[in-house]
Assembly symmetry: D3
Homo-oligomer: 133 residues x 6
């Protein structure tokens, strides 16, 4: 149970409903997941966050699948269960195969291992890595 | 300065040199970055880590560029300077454009924002997100 | 279920009961929450932690409500469910309204977003921000 | 040095300059800090992030000083040096005294301690803390 | 429920069974815990991870109990429930008493507190602490 | 440079000097490291933190070397440079050899790797690991 009451479509203000409608239209689905019904506790945050997510996750220089896998990698690093489960689902919907998920998780594990080894020894940045193209 | 003395090629044992040689051959470069010369402080960890990185980062179901961008996303989330700088360089070498980097960092920021909002409200996982294909 | 057996008041040693009594007297409540009954697994840690919390969270240059909201912001960032739920309750008891909670969570999300963007680009600290008054 | 080239006002596109101008006007200052000149590497992220920060950090149900101290608490928890230094400066400008900073840091330390103790014992959430008002 | 289907011994490929057999033989037990049956989703990661864990956790310059307590300290800091519970069990099996667990958790809390205080004030590293033996 | 002015012995109040004197006497050294001279910015936090550290780090069910290595493991996980460098020095002083440091860092890397793999797959806790002795 979240720490606030989620807002169902039937109980939502017109301002909140407009965001719910846009989520369903953009994603071509007929339901709204708990992320948004809970965020509706604070309508300005609901609106701003949805508009940001819509802009950031749209395909551009990176395709949707790559973006979803990056989102999942960060969520696993941060240990956010909601985010891990929703973005595993989203990445699969965007085309992630089980073999891709297996390799993704191997990279997640490896990056977290070497990040801590680099910290532990306080490894110095090589001069070549400081150059900006 | 790291907390231990890095091991230069000239001073390295045959066991350590073999790893250095394999790093240079695999990556088609003529130098070894500080990650490995510092890890040589403990040869079994040097060898095991290099072999794991070589296996995990090889192109497979995911290509090298995608893997490098995922590594960078995790390193930025963990705030590991060495890892951020070395994998920004590696991702560029693998073909990451400045537009791709800009979008990658937008996803990094957004995922970290919504991860914490999901935590703060203790948003409940939707039943649909619990289903395994 | 915690990894150790919590200690109920009836089963507690006089040393542990003295801490429980002080918690109830200080907070003007008639029960002891699981944080403390679990910490009683190691009485010296129970006593030291309670005395530190009592000192640090007392109103001083900062009022209790501000302190509770800071506690909640950190707990959400660390994803500690126990801490998120207990300090959301404590902040509400200290006067936090739903509008204040909504803005607090917006700041939590934003700070975590820009923290990672600052890391990802390795943004340099401005000279003006290094000056100490 | 950041991993990309910051964009000075003189070299900025009209789109980027418009953001810089709004930052200076909103904050009543005559310079733009590195956060924004580095973010200008990706103009859509610059614009979206600034508009979000402006909205989230404006005084509302919480005043500016409280918001800045929460930002600092999260930045210290995440160990983002840029963010710690810039928000320590911003909080002081908004009225934070040295005594308030001392108590803030005491809460930062304490929350991080008890968060990990709660994790380590896997303390169970009390039923009373699960109730939503 | 994990995000993938765990692989029971009866359903496992010969490659996966070989790892399961080695886990049971090495640990002198007759069951395989969920870590490994879930990792079997991606057999190369199962094999590589098990071989690394076997090598790293074997007694050497540090004994098994010390290694398990270090693992638990990191898992509590990262708030990984699976890891906290499995390594609390493993540390007890290796000889950790309740008094040792109590002191371990006290150190976990204290280190997390002072880590954040050091960050919050941006404490400078003393010259003496930069010297490498 | 820290965000506040450290307090040298010569400039310290009697209250602060008493803590400095106790640090030097307890550790049998003739200088006070920056952790404490910076914490002196807020004398109640200086006094409370020192007394807690003195109690928690004293040898008991765990010896000093084990406690210092646990502290280092957490500091590397949290990426606190000050803490990594000061506790690497302290652990060496307490008897940590280079071989022990090498194994410690291997455990730090491995625990951080498997923590994130457990998160990424949302591995379920085995029933046996939920039992409390």
């Amino acid at each position: 149970m979240p720490t606030v009451k989620p807002v169902a479509y039937a109980d939502a203000s017109p301002e909140v409903r407009a965001v719910y409608d846009d989520i369903m239209a953009t994603r071509k689905i007929d339901w709204v997941n708990n992320m948004w019904t809970t965020l509706a506790h604070h309508p300005p945050t609901l609106k701003r966050t949805w508009e940001s997510v819509k802009q950031v996750m749209a395909p551009g220089a990176l395709d949707s699948l790559t973006k979803e896998m990056i989102y999942l990698a960060i969520s696993a690093t941060n240990n956010c269960e909601y985010c891990i489960r929703s973005h595993t689902a989203a990445a699969r919907k965007a085309g992630m195969t089980e073999a891709m998920l297996g390799e993704l998780i191997a990279v997640i594990g490896m990056a977290n291992e070497t990040n801590r080894i680099a910290n532990a020894y306080q490894i110095e940045v090589d001069e070549r890595f400081k150059q900006v193209p």
